[in-house]
């Protein structure tokens, strides 16, 4: 027996109102200019790992990252995620991509590894870009979700059964180098993948020995929602059994979407609830889960709804297009940022990715970045490493920099002091410049600061507590 041990979710701060695009109701979630699938995976992964660590469930053996928007198409994105999550170097890692079903596929792979006695962290994250004015732009969203899977005795949700299908079909596709995916005539995909989805759902229920009427929630995710629109009637489901897919306030968040709706379901699920989760893209994966009485111990601090409720939906469409690299714009009269150096990044990996500073063992002074000689007592090599990633901090002083290069000027530059002791200069993100005040409570967040000469530069920023 194997199952989900805990989970975490992440919805970025910005929302694009569909009215701002020129039509439609509601809004879609938008990764900020300094986010990508890796940085958001880290945010969701931190939420899940925090719960895992507090439950003393042992060690994570495997990291699986699934996305259709990998920041590097060659170079393991999961390695940056592992480093930012401070996972051990001995971890096994792999990446899944190719279509949006890989989020659920990754979760099921983690469950299978759990049956083999392994504990896995599955981070799924996507930044979904559609051509301006199209349905994909309007109806998609950006978000991340993470699950820890493992042997069943501590599971918050057990797997009762599962089924899969693989279908060779030209439905949604994107060539290397293309910015936007293409889609064949919608009706064709529906007629091919509709029956495949229903068949997979029925086989999963049979495998689980669960009848449709026993299901508390049915989550139906597909590249085209009409692929799965016939399932509720075919299975005889009542409307209240069918999960809200959050089209109105999130949009479909690519590979992360099925997991995100599962997380939203688990946020309020009760022990004994049975869930059918299905994701369709070039075939279908389906799983039947049962929520256990451990559910309360596996919930993250912040629910999906909490993330949704803390956001800013005033994003201007032009700004969104600029962030996604769709709209050219007047550059500032400042040099382009330099790419970071590979050897220096490697030497400073514990700082840059894991956000570990040091603390003087002689006098207690914190150092960010880590130092060998104490700035207060000048002791040499009397430091112990300290991770500050989850430590709260506050604004000591700040300024709005209208001159610095940014896709979201002005840059909010701040000096922050950590409650545990330690200071650094860092940029504030996901903040309204007019609201920043000395003393504001902040938390750290992993970001892609910029991309210079083909190198993504990841580091940490501070944001107002969400």
């Amino acid at each position: 027996m194997s199952g989900i041990l805990d989970y975490g979710s992440y919805v970025p701060y910005y929302r694009l109102a569909r009215a701002a695009i020129g039509g439609g109701r509601g809004e879609r979630a938008v990764a900020s200019y300094d986010e990508d699938s890796v940085s958001m995976a880290v945010e969701a992964g931190r939420e899940a790992k925090r719960v895992f660590d507090s439950n003393n469930n042992g060690a994570i053996d495997t990291l699986i990252f699934a996305t259709t928007s990998p920041p590097y198409v060659e170079k393991l994105n999961a390695a940056a995620i592992a480093s930012a999550l401070d996972l051990p170097a001995s971890i096994r890692s792999m990446e899944l991509g190719g279509n949006t079903r890989m989020g659920l596929a990754g979760l099921l792979l983690g469950v299978d590894l759990g049956a083999a006695g392994k504990t896995s962290l599955i981070c799924t994250s996507d930044v979904v870009i559609g051509g301006p004015g199209g349905a994909r732009e309007r109806d998609s969203g950006d978000a991340a979700v993470a699950f820890v899977t493992g042997p069943g005795d501590q599971a918050i949700a057990k797997v009762l059964g599962q089924a899969s299908s693989t279908t060779e079909v030209l439905d949604v596709w994107r060539l290397p180098g293309d910015q936007f995916a293409r889609q064949w005539e919608e009706r064709f995909g529906i007629q091919i993948l509709g029956p495949v989805s229903l068949d997979t759902a029925q086989r999963a229920l049979t495998d689980a020995g669960v009848a449709p009427e026993e299901l508390a929630t049915v989550i139906l995710d597909a590249t085209n929602k009409r692929d799965v629109a016939g399932i509720p009637r075919a299975l005889g489901l009542k409307p209240e059994q069918v999960a809200d897919m959050m089209a109105g306030n999130l949009g479909r968040c690519g590979a992360a979407h099925a997991g995100l709706i599962l997380a939203n379901t688990l946020d309020t699920a009760r022990p004994g609830d049975k869930i059918l989760l299905l994701s369709t893209a070039d075939g279908c994966d389906a799983v039947v889960l049962e929520v256990t009485d451990k559910i309360n111990s596996g919930r993250p601090q912040r629910s999906v709804q909490h993330w949704i409720d803390s956001g800013d939906n005033g994003l201007v469409y032009n700004t969104y297009l600029k962030w996604r690299g769709i709209l050219p714009f007047e550059p500032p009269r400042r040099p382009d940022p330099d790419r970071p150096s590979a050897p220096i990044m490697k030497r400073h990996e514990r700082w840059k990715y894991s956000f570990c500073g040091s603390r003087c063992e002689s006098c207690g002074q914190g150092h960010l970045p880590p130092a060998r000689v104490c700035v207060k007592c000048n002791s040499v090599d009397k430091m112990k490493e300290e991770r500050f990633a989850d430590e709260p901090c506050k604004v000591t002083t700040f300024t709005l920099d209208h001159l610095a290069y940014s896709l979201q000027p002005p840059v909010i530059s701040s000096v922050v002091d950590f409650e545990v002791g330690g200071r650094m200069a860092c940029e504030l993100t996901d903040a309204d410049p007019a609201q920043v005040k000395i003393g504001n409570q902040l938390e750290m967040t992993f970001r892609r600061l910029y991309t210079g000469q083909g190198v993504h530069n990841y580091f940490w920023k501070a944001r107002p507590q969400r």
Partner: protein, 394 residues
């Protein structure tokens, strides 16, 4: 441990300085040639009389050959040095120490910077390769951290402080208007300064120093030889440089209302020069007004004003050209412009003119002792330079 100094051992006997500004028509070498040849002329010496050179440039060239190739100095040592915005001052200090050591008889300190060829707004600081985690703050942003911290500590309203900063810019533009070599030679109204577009924090465009090209040079010899070259040498009484440890960005103790490196270097220089009351004993000062708030904080760090009282002294006109203690009588970085490697020497050039009574329209009444100051870096993390000069020995 000692910082003994070389009080009155070395004198400046000739100086040259180009106009500062946007010299689209000149290379760094052209400016070096002008500054150096006018310094030779000022001291009445030939190039071959000079034994060694110290060249300060932040980034307009590498090695001493930037100078030796431009001026065709024959088999002479030229040392290029860099210490951020204190670069030009460091050229003087190192040249002076070489003379005091007895190694050379006659030397030149020269500084140059060519900033306007890059095509960017503001100063671009080329750094070594990095890990991409360094703060991306621009220079105005760094120094704008002083404003809110000062207000908070001393209970000054933000609008009140803005008026103080505006007055500092206004004063330095008034001075620059009287200086034929300054980059900006126009008075600017308080209103225009106050309303200028925001750059960072409380700073508008007029709170920032001018980004300029320029060069300046000084000829130094032992004090006892000075009268061979001029009837009115100026005597070097103290030099101090302090390089900070970044404590301000590591320790929660630092509050962004002072430059502790400046305090330390000023104290050291005062000790070397025998100054016990800087507010009374220093006739005039050229300080590093890279931004208006910097000049305000420096008045307190130098001991010209009590802590928390600098803003009142500014508003009362104490530091005006005709005030009790003129600060930046040549217009300062604000209106003379700030070609990094040349600025420290430009400050010394104003001392040279003022102490010899040659400052024309902006001449101060009988100054005897002057102070020059540079800082490079940012509040909490900087190098600071202070020198004391005078027109009499003793």
């Amino acid at each position: 441990m000692a910082s003994n100094g070389i009080k009155d051992q070395v004198a400046i006997v000739g100086m040259g300085c180009t106009a500062f500004g946007e010299h689209w028509d000149r290379d760094a070498s052209d400016m070096l040639i002008e500054a150096a040849t006018s310094a030779y002329e000022s001291a009445g010496v030939d190039q071959d009389d000079v034994d060694a050179y110290w060249l300060g440039t932040f980034g307009s060239g590498i090695s001493g050959m930037l100078f030796s190739e431009a001026l065709k100095t024959n088999n002479k040592p030229v040392t290029r040095l860099e210490n951020m915005c204190a670069t030009g001052s460091e050229a003087i200090r190192n040249a002076a120490y070489a003379v005091a050591s007895g190694a050379y008889d006659l030397v030149m300190a020269v500084g140059v910077e060519k900033l306007k060829d890059g095509g960017y707004s503001g100063l671009v600081i080329p750094g070594p390769d990095g890990d991409g985690t360094e703060s991306s703050m621009t220079a105005p942003a760094m120094f704008s951290l002083l404003g809110p911290a000062y207000c908070e500590k001393y209970g000054v309203e933000e609008g009140e402080l803005k008026d103080v900063l505006t007055r500092i810019a206004w004063k330095n533009h008034v001075a620059g208007a009287k200086n034929p070599k300054a980059q900006f030679r126009k008075e600017v109204s308080l209103e225009a300064i106050n309303d200028s577009p925001r750059i960072a924090g409380m700073f508008g465009v007029f709170d920032c120093s001018g980004v300029a090209d320029g060069s300046a040079a000084a000829i130094l010899c032992r004090a006892e030889d000075a009268h061979k070259y001029t009837d009115h040498p100026i005597y070097l009484k103290a030099f101090s440089v302090v390089a900070g440890t970044n404590e301000g960005f590591l320790s929660g103790d630092y509050d962004f209302t002072t430059f502790q490196e400046v305090v330390a270097s000023a104290q050291d220089a005062y000790k070397q020069a025998g100054i016990t009351n800087p507010r009374e004993q220093i006739s005039m000062a050229e300080v590093h007004d890279c931004f208006t708030a910097t000049e305000l904080v420096l008045m307190e760090d130098m001991g010209f004003s009590e802590r928390g009282e600098g803003w009142r002294d500014v508003m009362e006109g104490r530091f005006d050209g005709d005030g009790a203690q003129p600060v930046n009588p040549d217009g300062g970085l604000k209106s003379f412009g700030h070609p990094i490697g040349a600025s420290g020497l430009r400050m010394m050039y104003e001392m040279w003119l003022q102490l010899r009574g040659e400052a024309g329209e902006r001449q101060i009444d009988n100054p005897t002792t002057g102070l020059t100051h540079n800082l490079g870096g940012q509040p909490g993390r900087c190098v600071s330079f202070v020198s004391i000069v005078g027109n009499e020995v003793g």
